[in-house]
Each structure stands twice: as structure tokens, then as C-alpha cells.
Amino acid sequence: MTDRRIEDRRELEMLQARLARALETLRPRIIVCEGTGCLAKGAADVRRAFIKELEKRGPGIDLDLALEDPDEVERRREMGVAAVTPSGCQGLCQRGPLVTVEPEGYLYVGVRPDDVPDIVQAVVEGTGPVVRLLSDRDLSQARAADIDFFRPQERRVLAWCGRIRPGDIREYLARGGYSALAKALTEMTPDEVIEEVTAAGLRGRGGAGFPTGKKWRVTRDAEGDKKYVIVNGDEGDPGAFMDRCLLEGDPHRVLEGLIIAAYAVGADEGYAYVRAEYPRAVRLLRRAMAEAERYGLLGEDILGSGFSFRARLKEGAGAFVCGEETALIASIEGRRGMPRPRPPFPAVRGLWGRPTCINNVETLGNVPGLILYGAAAYREVGTDGSPGTKIFALAGQVERTGLIEVPMGSTLRDVIFGAGGGIRGGKEFKAVQIGGPSGGCLTSRHLDLPLDYESLKEAGAMIGSGGLVVLDEDSCMVEVARFFMSFVQSESCGKCVPCREGTRRMLELLTKMTEGTATKADLELLEELAGSVRESALCGLGKSAPNPVLTTLRYFRDEYLAHVTEHRCPAAACLELVSFEIDPEKCIGCGLCAKACPSGAVRQVDRADGTPDGRRRAEGAGDAGPAKKSPAAKGKTRKKRLPYAIDDELCLRCDACRAACPKGAVRRVPRKTVRDRSGAAATTAAGD
């Protein structure tokens, strides 16, 4: 590949203008989302279909931006060249594969290769959007910006995510990319950069919300001939995928933020630490780094400023604790990722004992815009204490899942019922888990709580990295607490006793509760343990490990009490405390549940006494297997088919029957039988 080194700011601006003009030739532009969600749903096939269809329709297709000849650019600008581009996450992951058509900005959902000719025809003939592929089949909501999902959003960090070819430096440059870096290097001293970031009030987006300007200041002022910057892309919180989407959708923005951070703190070397579980993010960022180097935006004497900076990518190896700064450093140094006591903070003594500034992916994604437009513009959105926007990963039992960016201070209601469209399947909202294993569960009374660092802390939760998992009435809060404790326990590095032993004991207690063998004393012990682990653990992982327990205890104590006093799960979610039952009214006797059952617990009901009986089943269907679907049999036996029932003693509680039932006739009810220690079954009072 040729060296395209940009020597100075003027050259950068000329290149940006040239690329912007070339970009304008690509019109209309069909952008196929290739975020993880859409890819899994077949987005790559959709993109291939678009290319094929456009080629079929004759000249004018250009897939690339490699336009060098200015005359050719002008000629094409006149006519417009239809183009197909892959992009990073477009946000509405639930409805993928997503396709955006520019310049109009129509957003199509659930696009299959068969739909492609219709879209291409509408694009070529300019007949407006294809209504049946719009998210609400509603013409007034043809553009992404008009859809409920996007309306409460303020996409600043995600401005180009989902709209550009990720990792292609020319697209980023065409949109004014690296202008912030040029501004910092040529107009600002490092101190001025830090002052701007401080004035903007940017706070770390990785969870703790530490002021970024302050971190940079400490690193800059720390003594040392060599300093490092690190971008922390070890996004391990279950339920979080913001950093992944940003890295996969607009890696150059993060890289530009990293270079500016390096300039501000005086580092000449840096690392990007990205989870190995995100192979696409790793590949795209690596590619972005190589391209930035080729364009002279990374390496020696960047833009002729005399500032040099080299960056390398390190893949994580699957340890949640490595999101903690000191553990991350240990991992880069090639050791087990175990935290050490702080202070000294990494800003003073970090990687190889040198001052090291570690910032989260999203934090650095905020930096280019902040520098380019200034602190005052940055503060236009958000709250005084938490300025700017925050990206949230919306998942769980919500109608529309996906990636959203809203101003800090938006309410949970805006997010869950506005963008998210409320609870799936018309169920009742129960709680939202925010901030992963370090965060907590909030309830319906918190729906109008502003999402900012202070408000959430007061409620006992934290923004964390920004994962929002919505829970409905079918989730048991004790089970959710057990789930997080099991996560933290297995991810505990084992260095300090409170975390290593404390989380294990807490997990045992919570497991007892979900299995119906705990007592009230266990509940008291759990609370005591949670308090001591929070006070005494070495690092953030351990200190925050009790949070899910403490918040669920605070807001859902009744559920804990039901588990320890009555051995009952009010949500009928704890498998040891439920039985499966088939509603004979809803059951159509199709037998799919019996076919799905691995233990032979589901049998057709005997007409005489209503109990499961395998022998009678054979008579009914004329075949030992589930009823056949041949038309004749269907017509003949439809009315006569007997419902099925479940033998509680044989039931493994695998949920297979419930999943298999086409009529929703299988339901969970409080457990009918308990097994005593000898394994025999006995009926409890709670049976009916």
C-alpha cells in the first residue's frame, strides 16, 4: 500500500474536502447494517443481493470511495452513483437486518434478500419508501429520525456509527474526522486541551464517573520520562455492548480520542486493550490503526507538529476483572490480571511503573467532538454534574432492544418506554438492572429518576458502563441477585479474602434461597456479609459485588422473605420452587410438549380420571408418537384429542415443554411436590 502521509493541517483539510466531494457522488447510498445482530440475521446476504441487483440495473454502481480523478468526481457528482455500503450498528438491533437509504434517510427493518429488488426499484425510480418494510409500516415514520426509537435520542458520539463504512479512514476524513486532533496539535497546548476537557465536565464512561480532565491532569503532572495512555475496551459487564458497537461502528473516533489524550498527558506510546470476545472490534480497530499510521496520523511527527505517538492493540483473554485499571495493566504486562491496592494510582505509577492514563472507549469517543466544538457546546446537553450524552445498551424484556444515546439526565421512562417501547408482550414492568454486576436493580418508582451519576448513586445503583436490562414480572429478583453473584464469584481473581470467600458464601446463601432450603437466619447472614465485602474488598469488582444483592434487598425484600419463610418464589421463576402445569382448556393435544420432554414426564391425560397415562395415549392417536399432522388425521381427531399433563415427580424442570407449546398452555406454578433428602416426593401445602 502506498504511503499517503498527510504532512500538515492544510493538507489534511484539502484531503477532507476532496473526499467529501467524492462522497457526494455516492447517491443514493444504501447502507446495510453489519452490526453483530444484523449479521446474525443474514445482513451479509442482503448486502450481496443489493450489489447484484444494482449491477443488473446497469451502470452507476460504485462500491468504493477511491475516487482520485477530480474530473471523474465532478462528472459523477452530476449524475449520482448508487452505492452499497456496510456499516456498524444502526441501533435498532431487534429488527435487523436494517437498511438505511440516503439521502432521504429511510430506515427499513427485517430486510431479506427477496425484498432487495423492491427497495432498489423504489430507489432508482424515486417512488418514495417501500412502506411494508418500514418499522411501523407508517409513511410518517419512514425516516430513522422520526421513529419512536430514535426520537428521544441525541446521537453525538454515535453520530456516524451506522452511517459510515467502519474503519475506512477516507469516510471518517470526509466527515471532518481528525479535525479535532489537528486543532489540538496546532492551536492548543496540552494544558489547554486538559482545561477544555475539565471545563466540559467530561466524566469517565466506564462506570465510576471520575472526571476525565482530572485524570489527565494528574498523569500530565506525574513525574516520569515516559508515559502511557490506554484505551480500555475490556467491556465485560453482562448486558453491555456500547463499546463494542462504537469500536465496530466508528473506530477512528476512539483512536482520535486516544491520540488527543496522549498529546494532553504527554505520552508517546499507548495501547488499545480490547476483549478477544469481540473479534470484529479487534479487527476493525487494528485496521483503523494501520490506516491512521499510513496517513501519518499515528507515528512520528503527526501533522508536522513534532508530536509523536505509537499505539498497539492488545487482546484481552477473557477475564472480567481486567476491566479494573491495575488488573488491565498486569494483563498487558503479561501476567495474571490481578488488581493491586491503589494508591499509587496508575496515573502516577502504572504500566511498567510509568504514569499511565486509562480511559474507557466511550469516554475517548466523546473527546473529538468536545475538542472540536468546545466545552460550552459540549455542556449544551446533559446535567450540570453529568454533562453530555450517554450510550446505553437496552436489552432484556423490552419491546425494542438496541443501542441508544441520550442526554445525561434523561429518565428511565424516556429510555424504557420511549425508545424501548415498553415491556415485551404486554407484561408488567418489574425492574431494570443497570450497570451490570456492579450496579443495581431499580423499580417502577425510579422510572422518573434522571439518569446521571449522582441520582443513581443515591438510589443505590450506578450508571456503570451503561447496560440496561429490563426485567418483567416473570423474573425473580432473588434469582437475579444469585445470577450476578455467581458471575462475580467465578470472575473473582482470588487475591483478597473478602471477595474470594465472601462472594462464594453469598452465592451459597442465595442458591439456598432459590432452592427453597434457606432460613431467615440465612437472610440476616447475607446482609451482614454483603456489608463486610463492600467495606473490605481490594478492588472495585469486590467492593461493588454486593450491589445487586443490596439493591434487590432494599426494593424487593418481600420476595426474599417469601423465599426464606414460605420457600415460595412469587414470580414462579426459581426452577426448584415451581412445577409445570398444562392448562387443559388451552391444550389442543398436539403432543409437541411430550415430544420435547426429555424425561417422559408429559403424557396424555386418561379420559376417566384426568391423570397422565402413557398406555391410553397409544389408543388415542393410533400411534405411540405424538399425533400426526396428516390432513385426514387432523380432521378426524381434532375434537377428540385429549389434553396432556405433566408428572411432577418425573419433571426435570428444563422448560422444554413450555418452549414447545404453540398455544401457551404450559405455565409455571408454585411447586407441588418437594423432594426430601432421600429423593422421594412429598406433596406440600402449597400444592394447589
Partner: protein, 192 residues
Amino acid sequence: MVPAFEGRRFEKLNDIIERNGRTPSSLIPILQEVQEEYRYLPEEVLTYVATALGLPPSAVFGVATFYAQFSTEPKGRFVIKVCDGTACHVRGADTVHFAVRRAAGLEPGRKTTDDLTFTVEQVNCVGACSMAPVVTVNDRRVYGDMTQKEAAALVERLRKEAEEEPVPTEGAGDGVGTAGERAADGAGGAAG
């Protein structure tokens, strides 16, 4: 249990070590590449790497057993990971896990089938929460909105694939590239 580790294979190992540099900070990238090559970390390799980097074997074993990515036991041709992140968990990841294990024919307590066709693991969040519950195969193919039925069908498809295109149980990772696999990792070429 561990397949004989032939001497010639150390050549590749030397390449990997040279490429990453003989410094302690290269340990994790070296182990990552080695695992990609052999699909697990044989004991002989760990001691060899320790010697090459001038590290005590205990340090290398420590790292190899600390990180979830590394395995000191051979894995199956298809490593099926059932995500158990929060979103997947509340949407029924446990029952999907149960179905995958059942379809793969795993005995309780086992993760890998005797014929080294399947390894089934329950893993932390893979970061595809919006299509929970999620299952991945060999980290490349991603399947969302899984049900027990689809999970079982997926295992059967993989089994068929293994029967039709048998590959050596040892060797360079996964040589087969199905449409899905290329799709999930294919944008690299396309982005060129």
C-alpha cells in the same frame, strides 16, 4: 488423553514466539496464537514457552489457567458457547444450554464429547444482548433469539457438517467456512 505432540510442531511454535518477541509481556499474545494453532494449550507447549521466555513454568501455567480464553484440555471441533449474560439469562439461556447439551449428547459434568466434535460452554456476556438468548459457534458464527428447538437443530446441522467434511481432530483450528461463518467475519474484505 492428550494427543502425542510431535517434534516438528515446535517449528510453528518457534515462529510464533519469534514473531511476538521473547519478552514476558508477549506471553498472552503467544498463548493466544498457540491456542489458535492447536485449539488448546498442551502441557509441553507451556513448559517450552516458559523456557523460551525465561519465565518459571508456574508463571506460564498461572496465566494459562487464569484467563477464561485458555484451555489446557483439547476442545471439540465445534465450540458452542451459550451466552449467559444478563439479557440472555432472563430470556431463558439456561434452557437453551440444557437443549444444546442434550442434543450434543453430553453426560453431566462433561464439556466435550468423546469424539471431540462438540464442546459446550456457558459463557459470560458475548455482547449481543439485543438478540438474546445468543449462541456462538467457534466465536465466529452468531445465532440470536435462540429457542430450545433451534438450538437442537443447530447441533444437528453441525453434526452433519462434521460427518460430511471430517477434518483432523488436531490442526489449524476450523478450516471449514460456511456461509454463516464467512458472513459474521466477512466485512473485513468488504470494507476494503
